[in-house]
Amino acid sequence: MPIDILMPALSPTMEKGNLSRWLKKEGDKIKPGDVLAEIETDKATMEVEAIDEGVLAKIVVPAGTADVPVNNVIGVIAGEGEDAHSVASGSSPAHEKAPAAVPAAPATVSAAPAFNGQTGPRIFASPLARRIAKEAGLALTAITGTGPHGRIIERDVKAALARAPSVPRVQDLKAPSVPLPAPSDELIRQNYAASSFEEVPHDLMRKTIARRLVEAARTIPHFYLTTDCNLDALISLREAINEAAPKNKEGKPAYKISVNDFIIKALALALIRVPDANATWTESAMLKHKHADVGVAVAIPGGLITPIIRAAETKTLSVISGEMKDYAARARARKLMPEDYQGGSTAVSNLGMFGIKSFSAIINPPQATILAVGAGEPRVIVKNGAPTVAIVMSVTLSCDHRAVDGVLGAELLAAFKTLIEQPAGMLA
């Protein structure tokens, strides 16, 4: 039975929204949890996830369509073994209408009944149950009702709360949660003379940055560790490596390793040496990663993105350098795919090229740490009891205290410092 994908309602009052893009093409296989499309309203952006398995038979509403009414069919999924083409040929009346996104928790929208067992666009829940769930931030879609006709009642919400945190919270499901106490846009505008500014509507990236960083700043208990690294040895090694690069006919070297490439590699190796810090916090368990996937913040016009060097500990400096060049180019062209920037256990944010001495960065969830790198500059240091000049770089590690405690963070940073100051260790 082909299943219609309906335009979800992001909020009970939402009437229409913009289909900003499709993440799947017609003919793509779909499995539960796959993100099918992104929907945007004035307030929010959300992902439409699949619950059913099948093939995206037809895209009815193309990407970039504005003002699509809620509950309109935006696409059709063909079930297993069904002929996607015959399905795609037209929406027959026999189509099973999928329940519309439920207003209370619009994130997981798909062609299947909401997973609380209730069908239809309305979730039946007692007023008291709704209120308790709302105040606890519980999504009603995740709660099984035991009242008459599966109605969710107080007892069900309390039972779900007792089971928490396995039950999805509204903020997990609901896309962008705008800071609650934030003043309204209108109130903010009133601070400025009407003609004194130009309004630039947010694009998706800006909204995503805002949402993710608000979430990170609010939910991750950050702490910061700072150390100075002597770069003298690293700079010498870098020159030697770069001088040794084979050159092609035009005299262009095959690679040119940057200090940042060393930093990526050093951070990756440090994570492997201090494996407990190579982790991701979840409510139920710690995810301990087997490889060091290091994100690198890349500034692009209008924002930034953090592509990830996967298993960076296994890669040579020249490979890392090559990947970074590719990422930077694709990032500027906005051609990065989700798999390029999702995941990771740490990230590097380097503002050294702007002469920043030191700063601290906000962790990019679901990662557990981020390294803020300042400029390498000549500083007077004390060596063997005497002042001398060395190239020194200050770095600040932000840690998610839920995943990385103080000593663990310090161990990670110490391992990093050792690798940076004795860079030959990275070549082993």
Binding site: P127, L128, A129, R131, E135, I153
Partner: protein, 480 residues
């Protein structure tokens, strides 16, 4: 067991006959064993006939106040005690007959006699030995007689009887229980009512309205002890204004019987004793479950303080044996028994009903003024650790109450300050027993104050006091 019933109910009171009808609806082969009167105490000697008496009292009271409404009544306003009682018995007879009809219509067998469970699934019915309370209603036609009956499931619904205080045993002549109080040979000039629960207060109210000197003696510091303290205090003030003497924190220690009256010795909580004379005394110190002579002990049924232990769906510790209503514990109210009966039968049928939530059982007292409540009292809510929001609204702020000439009354609502859950509602005043169901439904649907505030209550009605009480809890009351 060739002729086994699916469900055999012992006791044809409101719990038993409702359980039987529900069982029949679900397709069970069902029988009810009854020894005395279909409809039980409720219909024959409780809820219903007392409402008939109180209706007479109410009209009598209204006639006596006809002038207040601009009406004139020619001649003396009086009453015929025998006719008042007869009307009450007639009402009971009509409904008693009605239960017989309902059981017949639902093809429920009625077995006449006293039942004892001889072993699991087997009930021996013998001719009734207990003399029926007079006047009794005739035995229905077509009932089955004594014998051994078999059933896959037995539901004990044998109800309760008046509790007796040793030394002050009712004798049916000078010391009455509700039985005699309902069919007095003559209306006493003076009366002591021992106990101020629903039964005691209703008789006190009735006899006072009919002209008797009434003294209510309550051992606890508050009359209507299960009610919210404010509501009870409001009711007490009204009773005292009507001339009922109320002695709280006082117990009856001794009763001396005379030719045509009694002398009661009373003692208050400070040990001060006094004597009080009256023509009659009503002992209304609660009821106790009928758990004896049923064979329960032999079967090893768990009984705790005279109450058959059940699991909330009527199951006892013995497979196939269930208990509902008064024998399954307080509150000993007909509507609780009915609901338990339905839950029990549905559980037997595998319908997985929700167990009884005792907090959702309303309580009503049909005195003047009426008292009705559901859920937690303010004190109980606080004791349970709730942070409460309390709303109150007096009848004096309600147009309909004024028009009716019933300006005395109070509605009190108690909310959980955190969630807005309606924890309890307590009312005193005209017709509140008819109003309380609004709050009962609200609680069952788990409304918060928001839905109650958003609901439109018809104007002009007494129910607007309910709305206003909710508004008051949230600082939004209009007519006060």
């Amino acid at each position: 067991m060739p002729d086994a019933y699916d469900i055999l109910v012992i006791g044809g009171g409101p719990g038993g006959y409702v359980a039987a009808i529900r069982a029949a609806q679900l397709g069970f082969k069902t029988a009810v064993v009854e020894r005395e009167h279909l409809g039980g105490i409720c219909l024959n000697w409780g809820c219903i006939p007392t409402k008939a008496l109180l209706r007479s009292a109410e009209i009598f009271h209204t006639l006596n106040h006809a002038k207040d409404y601009g009406l004139t009544v020619e001649g003396k306003i009086g009453f015929d005690p025998a006719a008042v009682v007869k009307r009450s018995r007639d009402v009971s007879a009509q409904l008693n007959n009605g239960v017989g009809f309902l059981l017949k219509k639902n093809k429920v067998d009625v077995i006449w006699g006293e039942a004892a469970i001889t072993k699991p699934g087997e009930v021996l019915v013998t001719a009734t030995k207990k003399p029926a309370m007079q006047p009794s209603h005739p035995v229905p036609k077509g009932v089955l007689g004594a014998g051994t009956y078999f059933a896959k499931n037995i539901i004990v619904a044998t109800g309760a009887r008046p509790r007796v205080i040793p030394g002050i045993e009712p004798d049916g002549k000078l010391i009455w229980t509700y039985f005699e109080a309902m069919v007095p040979d003559r209306f006493p000039q003076s009366l002591i009512v021992m106990g101020s629960g629903a039964i005691g207060i209703e008789f006190a109210s009735f006899y006072r309205t009919m002209g008797a000197q009434v003294t209510v003696v309550e051992i606890l510091p508050q009359i209507l002890p299960v009610e919210d303290v404010e509501i009870a205090a409001h009711a007490r003030k009204r009773f005292e204004k009507q001339g009922i003497e109320i002695l709280t924190s006082t117990k009856v220690t001794k009763v001396e019987k005379k030719q045509d009256g009694i002398t009661a010795t009373l003692e208050d909580d400070k040990g001060q004793a006094r004597t009080l004379e009256a023509e009659r005394m009503i002992s209304a110190v609660g009821v106790t479950g009928n758990v004896e002579n049923l064979g329960l002990e032999v079967l090893g049924v768990k009984i705790d303080h005279g109450i058959i232990a059940t699991d909330g769906r009527g199951r006892t510790n013995i497979a196939g044996l269930h208990a509902i209503g008064d024998v399954a514990g307080p509150p000993m109210l007909a509507h609780k028994a009915e609901h338990e009966g339905v839950i029990c039968v549905e559980a037997i049928n595998g319908l997985d009903p929700h167990p009884l939530d005792k907090l959702m059982i309303p309580g009503c007292t049909y005195c003047n003024p009426q008292v009705a409540s559901v859920g937690l009292t303010e004190a109980k809510a606080k004791a349970l650790g709730f942070e409460v929001r309390v709303g109150r609204f007096p009848f004096i702020g309600n147009g309909k109450a004024i028009a009716l000439g019933e300006p005395d009354g109070l509605v009190k609502t108690i909310f959980d300050a955190k969630t807005g859950k309606l924890l309890g509602a307590h009312m005193v005043g005209a017709e509140v027993t008819e109003l309380i169901q609004g709050f009962v439904i609200a609680m069952n649907c788990e409304t918060t104050e928001a839905e109650l505030i958003h609901s439109i209550f018809p104007h002009p009605t007494l129910s607007e006091t309910m709305h206003e009480s909710v508004l008051d809890a949230y600082g939004r009351v209009i007519h006060m």
